[in-house]
C-alpha cells in the first residue's frame, strides 16, 4: 500500500549544484538581512520579542531539542539574529539595548542557517507551550526571510525556489510532466479533465507527487470523478508546493502563489483543493490572499478538508477499509493541523472508512512533527538530526499498537517512509487520498 519513496535529499543536492552563489559583500548581506527582518517585524512580533523571559521552556516542546538534548536547538535561540536587530533598531529601549546587544555579523547569519532551516520544521509546537505566549514559529519565517535576503539560504531550497519562480517547474517537472502523467492516468481508464476553461473546483497537484509515479494523481482523479464534481487541473497553476516560502524568499513566494490564484480566477473556481502537501496548505490558505493584496473569490481547502466535508455532507460514500488498514493511528501533519486548523476532517474520513483509530499521546494540536517539514527533508546535512527526531515519533506510534499510520501530507508520508526504511520498521504508511480512493463505495 505504500507509495514510492522519493529521496528529497539527493534531489536537493542535485539542484543545489546548479546554484550560483550570490556575489554580495558582507555589508550588503547584513544590510539586506536587516531590511528583511525589519520589514517582517509587525506589532505582534514586537510584542512577542518584548515578552521573552528567557525561561527556556520552549526547548521542551521541540522534537529536535528533546531528541538530542543540544541547547542550540532551543526554539527561541533560533531567533537570536532577529531578536538582536529588533533590540538594536526597533525596540523602544533601543538606546539602552545597544549598550548590551552586539550587531549581527555574516558569520552569525551563516551559523543560524542551520538553526532556522535544518533544525526547524516550523511545526509550531513551541508556540503552544511558551508561558508568555510567544509565537516563535511565525518569527522563524522572518529569520529565514533575512537569511535568504542575505543570499545565505540553503542552496538546495534557494535553487528550487529560483527554478520554481522563473520556470514554474520543480526538479525540472512542470506542465509538460503533468500532461505526461495525466496521459498515463487516462491510459488506466481514469478520466483527468486537464485545462478546462471553466470549472467549479480547481484541483492542485504537485511535481513532488508525480515525480516518480502517477498513483496520487490517479487516486485524486478517481475520487473527484466519483463525486461527480465539475473539476479540472490547470497546467498553468497546478503546483501546490511553494519553495519560495520554504527558502524564505518572499518575492518568489508571492509569484508562485499568484500562479494558482490567477488560474483559479480564470476558470471561475469556487474551491481550490490543495494536494497532500504540508506547507502548501498554510501558504495558500493563510498567507496567499494577504500577499496577493486582495480577498479571493474562492476558498482554499486541503484535500483532507475537502474529503472530510464531502463525507460529512453524505456525498462521498466509502466502504469499510480492508487490506490491513483496519486499525490505524493518524499522524497529524503540523501544517494541516496545528498551523492549519484541520483536525477532524481526516478523522471523519477515517471514521467513514470504519477503521479503528488509536490516537498517539501527542495528537491534534500538540502532535509531534515527523521531522521532515519546512523544507528540512530536502537538506541532506539535516538527515542525522531528522533520524534522531523521528525516534520520538516512532515511540508514540509504537505505543498505539496500530499496524498502520495514516497521514495527509506528502512530506510527512515520505518522512515516515524514509524512517521506516531507516528502522526496518514493520508499520504500513498510507496516505488518506490513497486510502479513500481504494475504498470508494
Amino acid at each position: 500500500m505504500s507509495a514510492t519513496t522519493i529521496d528529497y535529499g539527493t534531489l536537493g543536492e542535485r539542484a543545489a549544484a546548479g546554484l550560483k552563489p550570490k556575489a554580495l559583500s558582507d555589508e550588503q548581506r547584513i544590510a539586506r538581512a536587516k531590511e528583511a527582518f525589519l520589514a517582517g517585524i509587525d506589532a505582534d512580533m514586537a510584542t512577542y520579542l518584548e515578552s521573552c523571559i528567557h525561561c527556556g521552556m520552549c526547548a521542551e516542546a521541540c522534537h529536535f531539542y528533546i531528541s538530542t538534548g543540544d541547547a542550540k536547538y532551543t526554539p527561541i535561540y533560533k531567533l537570536e539574529p532577529l531578536k538582536k536587530v529588533y533590540r538594536r533598531e526597533l525596540a523602544p529601549t533601543r538606546w539602552l539595548n545597544r549598550l548590551t546587544t552586539r550587531d549581527i555579523t555574516v558569520a552569525e547569519l551563516q551559523d543560524w542557517k542551520e538553526l532556522a532551516y535544518d533544525s526547524c520544521t516550523q511545526c509550531g509546537r513551541c508556540s503552544l507551550l511558551c508561558p508568555m505566549g510567544i509565537h516563535i514559529q511565525s518569527m522563524i519565517q522572518v529569520v529565514r526571510n533575512g537569511i535568504a535576503a542575505a543570499g545565505l539560504a540553503p542552496a538546495e531550497l534557494q535553487a528550487v525556489s529560483d527554478e520554481q519562480r522563473d520556470k514554474a517547474t520543480i526538479f525540472g517537472a512542470g506542465p509538460d510532466k503533468l500532461r505526461e502523467v495525466a496521459e498515463r492516468v487516462r491510459a488506466k481508464g481514469i478520466e483527468v479533465p486537464l485545462d478546462k476553461d471553466k470549472a467549479e473546483v480547481l484541483v492542485l497537484s504537485s511535481a513532488l507527487d508525480f515525480l516518480k509515479d502517477d498513483a496520487l494523481l490517479a487516486a485524486t482523479a478517481k475520487i473527484m470523478n466519483k463525486l461527480g464534481a465539475n473539476w479540472t487541473i490547470r497546467s498553468d497553476g497546478f503546483e501546490s508546493a511553494n519553495f519560495g516560502a520554504l527558502a524564505g524568499d518572499v518575492q518568489a513566494q508571492r509569484r508562485i502563489s499568484k500562479r494558482v490564484i490567477d488560474a483559479a480566477i480564470a476558470i471561475g473556481a469556487k474551491k481550490v483543493i490543495v494536494a497532500e502537501c504540508g506547507h502548501a496548505y498554510p501558504v495558500l490558505r493563510w498567507e496567499a490572499a494577504t500577499l496577493y493584496g486582495k480577498e479571493l473569490p474562492f476558498e482554499f481547502l486541503s484535500v483532507a478538508e475537502y474529503l472530510g466535508q464531502e463525507v460529512k455532507a453524505g456525498r462521498l460514500k466509502l466502504k469499510k477499509a480492508g487490506n490491513g488498514a483496519s486499525h490505524v493511528t493518524f499522524h497529524d501533519p503540523c501544517k494541516l493541523g496545528r498551523m492549519g486548523g484541520s483536525f477532524d476532517d481526516a478523522r471523519n474520513v477515517l471514521s467513514a472508512l470504519g477503521v479503528k483509530l488509536t490516537e498517539m499521546e501527542s495528537h491534534g494540536r500538540t502532535n509531534l512533527c515527523c521531522g521532515g517539514g519546512g523544507g528540512v527533508a530536502m537538506l541532506k546535512g539535516a538527515q542525522g538530526l531528522r533520524q534522531k527526531a523521528f525516534e520520538l515519533k516512532r515511540e508514540e506510534v509504537e505505543r498505539t499498537g496500530a499496524p498502520t499510520v495514516v497521514t495527509a501530507c506528502n512530506t510527512c508520508m515520505q518522512t515516515l517512509e524514509t524512517g521506516k526504511a531507516w528502522l526496518n520498521w514493520d508499520k504500513d504508511i498510507v496516505n488518506l487520498v490513497q486510502l479513500v480512493s481504494d475504498n470508494l463505495a
Binding site: 505582534d44 515578552s51 525561561c55 527561541i76 548590551t100 505566549g133
Partner: protein, 226 residues
C-alpha cells in the same frame, strides 16, 4: 526624629519614603508607557477568511496558557510549578503582610485582612529559596545559560533585594545597622525595582497579556486552540 543615616539634614528613611519613592513611581509609570509603544507598530491586515474568532481565542489563551496540555507540560513540570510557587508567594508577601497592607491603605484609602507574621516569614523564605534555585539553574542549565542576558541577572538581583532587606528589617537581623537604615534600604530596593521595571524583563508582568492574546488570536483565526 529617626535614627540611622543622615545626609544634609534628611534621614535616609525620609529620603527613601519621600523623594526617592516619588521619583521611582514617576519613572515606573513613564517608562512603562514608553516601553508599551512597541505595541503600536503596524500589523498588516490579514485578508484570508478566518476559521474562528480571533478575539475570543485571544482572551481564552490569556487564561488557558497558564495550564498547557499534558503532553507539553510533562516536560516542564519543575519550571512550571516553581514559577507558580514563586509568583503566589511573592504576591502573598506583597499584599498580606500587615505593614504592606497599611502602606497600600494610605494610598488607596481602604485595607484588607492580613496574614500572621509566621506565614509571611514562611512565604518570604520560599520566594528567596526559589529565586536562589532558579538562579543556580540559570547558571548551570545549558539551555538557560545560552539564552540568558545581563537583564536576567540584573532583574534577579533587583527582585531578590526587597525580600532580603524585608526579612532583615522584619527579623531585626541588621548586621550592625540601625533598624531605620535597613527599613530605608528596603524601601530603596523597591524604588530600584520600580525604576528598573520598565527597562528589563520585569515588564513581562504586563507584556504577558498582549502576547498571550496575540498568539491565541493568531491560532484561533486558523481554528486552533492555543
Amino acid at each position: 526624629m529617626n535614627e540611622g543615616l543622615y545626609f544634609e539634614g534628611m534621614s535616609l528613611l525620609d529620603f527613601a519614603r519621600g523623594p526617592a519613592f516619588r521619583w521611582a513611581v514617576a519613572i515606573f509609570i513613564i517608562g512603562i508607557v514608553w516601553r508599551l509603544t512597541a505595541l503600536l507598530l503596524v500589523s498588516p491586515k490579514r485578508l484570508e477568511p478566518v476559521k474562528g474568532s480571533a478575539t475570543s481565542g485571544g482572551v481564552r489563551t490569556m487564561l488557558t496558557r497558564s495550564a498547557p496540555a499534558h503532553e507539553l507540560e510533562k516536560n516542564i513540570i519543575f519550571q512550571h510549578y516553581s514559577g507558580y510557587a514563586w509568583h503566589i508567594s511573592m504576591f502573598i508577601v506583597l499584599l498580606f503582610f500587615a505593614p504592606h497592607m497599611m502602606f497600600f491603605k494610605q494610598i488607596l484609602g481602604f485595607g484588607w485582612p492580613t496574614l500572621p507574621n509566621l506565614f509571611i516569614t514562611f512565604f518570604a523564605v520560599v520566594t528567596m529559596g526559589i529565586l536562589l534555585v532558579l538562579l543556580a539553574r540559570r547558571l548551570m542549565n545549558p539551555v538557560l545559560r545560552q539564552i540568558s542576558t545581563m537583564d536576567d541577572y540584573v532583574s534577579w538581583i533587583i527582585a531578590f533585594l526587597p525580600f532580603l532587606t524585608g526579612i532583615m528589617s522584619f527579623t531585626h537581623i541588621t548586621f550592625g545597622m540601625q533598624y531605620e537604615t535597613v527599613l530605608a534600604l528596603h524601601i530603596l530596593s523597591i524604588c530600584l525595582l520600580l525604576v528598573w521595571f520598565p527597562f528589563g524583563k520585569l515588564m513581562h508582568a504586563l507584556f504577558i497579556w498582549p502576547s498571550r492574546y496575540k498568539v491565541g488570536a493568531a491560532f484561533a483565526r486558523r481554528g486552533v486552540r492555543a
